[in-house]
Symmetry: C2
């Protein structure tokens, strides 16, 4: 049946493209986060502007990948594992798009903070960004490889970002108490820290969806993470 | 063809159930928000605990509705408008589930704030909550009725919540500057305001997805909203 074979081949190609596109979009938002934090740390406002502009590409990819998913569903009517894979991809693009928005928010706060004297050197914020970027990469690797161990690792790493966020919060509060002139800037730093925490949450959401996709088991909202899934 | 007719009827019934389930889940998260804010305003910690517990029902619905969507895709292989409707439903459940999480976050801050003397009467926070609840209801009505005018109205209403959030932010900052003893509480109120702003953002996301579903047009990230779509 050459026709069916042709369809199969096309289908496999499109599934492969879907995996590649998701990884590409993930790489782009990782880079957006890294550069957004760089624009804050280096007080580089032109870079912040560039990153804000480049969010359009993230949004374009979101729409493109969703279209690809819907085309795959419409033309190939997948079942079972492939169906779960494609419906999970549809949800993942939303998380990646919102991570892109968070990078824009970081740039907006950077633009504001760059207009005032620097309150303090940034130590925890770049660390948070690095862990969050890593979490995005690993959650998407877990997705394309259907690797639930890696996905569970991402969920566990979220704790580190939460702890750093609490640390930033305590530090900015102590700045504010010592000198009320710092309140405005300290609040903005708190917000940047919150954006990074939310980025890590999105990566965790992706990892949880991967576990659900593979194992049909929801580990979301558990008080304690399991040792394995 | 009695068999096809039977399948059609079953399919229509399941689509109807999907619409009803989404509206039911929306009603539940609306109620979660309303009661979360009530637990803050009335300093009612037992209510906050109840609402945190009840988030499990939101999470259960999230999984149930996703399952229904995947069953619809697998068994009936819908195309065209129905396919877009179901894939949009898959994305909407994620937003609703996260709105549920925000209600939990509000309760957590309420529990902390209820342990300390009240900083100020809450005026803007309940207003924000009311608008956000309304936005959720209208975005879901827009979804089931495929009503893009109503969806556009929701996107426009988001501005009101953003403005109230800025107002709360300015007010809490002025408290903090006047008296550093208020910083901790003022920060927590700022966070509650942020959660409500994010809830309104989720409703806006849903409304944008409805417009995209019906018109194939993305109004997300436009600098200015169009008069009509």
């Amino acid at each position: 049946m050459p026709h069916a074979e042709h369809t199969d081949k096309k289908y496999e190609e499109e599934l492969k493209k879907l995996r590649e596109d998701i990884l590409y979009m993930g790489g782009l938002v990782e880079d957006q986060i890294q550069k957004a934090v760089k624009s804050l740390v280096d007080r580089d406002s032109p870079l912040a502007e560039t990153i804000i502009q480049r969010d359009q590409e993230v949004n374009r990819l979101d729409i493109e990948i969703d279209d690809l998913c819907i085309r795959l569903l419409a033309l190939h009517q997948p079942a079972g594992k492939d169906l779960r894979f494609i419906t999970t991809a549809l949800k993942i693009t939303t998380d990646l798009e919102r991570i892109g928005d968070m990078a824009v928010n970081i740039c907006e706060r950077a633009l504001e903070l760059n207009l005032e004297p620097q309150l303090k050197p940034y130590i925890d914020i770049p660390r948070m960004a690095q862990i969050a970027q890593w979490m995005i990469r690993e959650s998407l690797d877990a997705f394309v490889r259907k690797d639930t161990d890696l996905a569970l690792k991402v969920c566990k790493d979220d704790r580190q970002v939460d702890d750093l966020n609490s640390q930033v919060f305590r530090e900015t509060i102590s700045f504010m108490i010592e000198d009320p002139h710092t309140i405005n800037r300290a609040m903005k730093i708190t917000f940047v820290s919150k954006y990074l925490e939310r980025i890590a949450d999105h990566a965790t959401n992706i990892a949880e969806m991967v576990i659900f996709m593979v194992k049909g088991k929801s580990i979301r909202h558990l008080k304690e993470l399991p040792q394995s899934v």
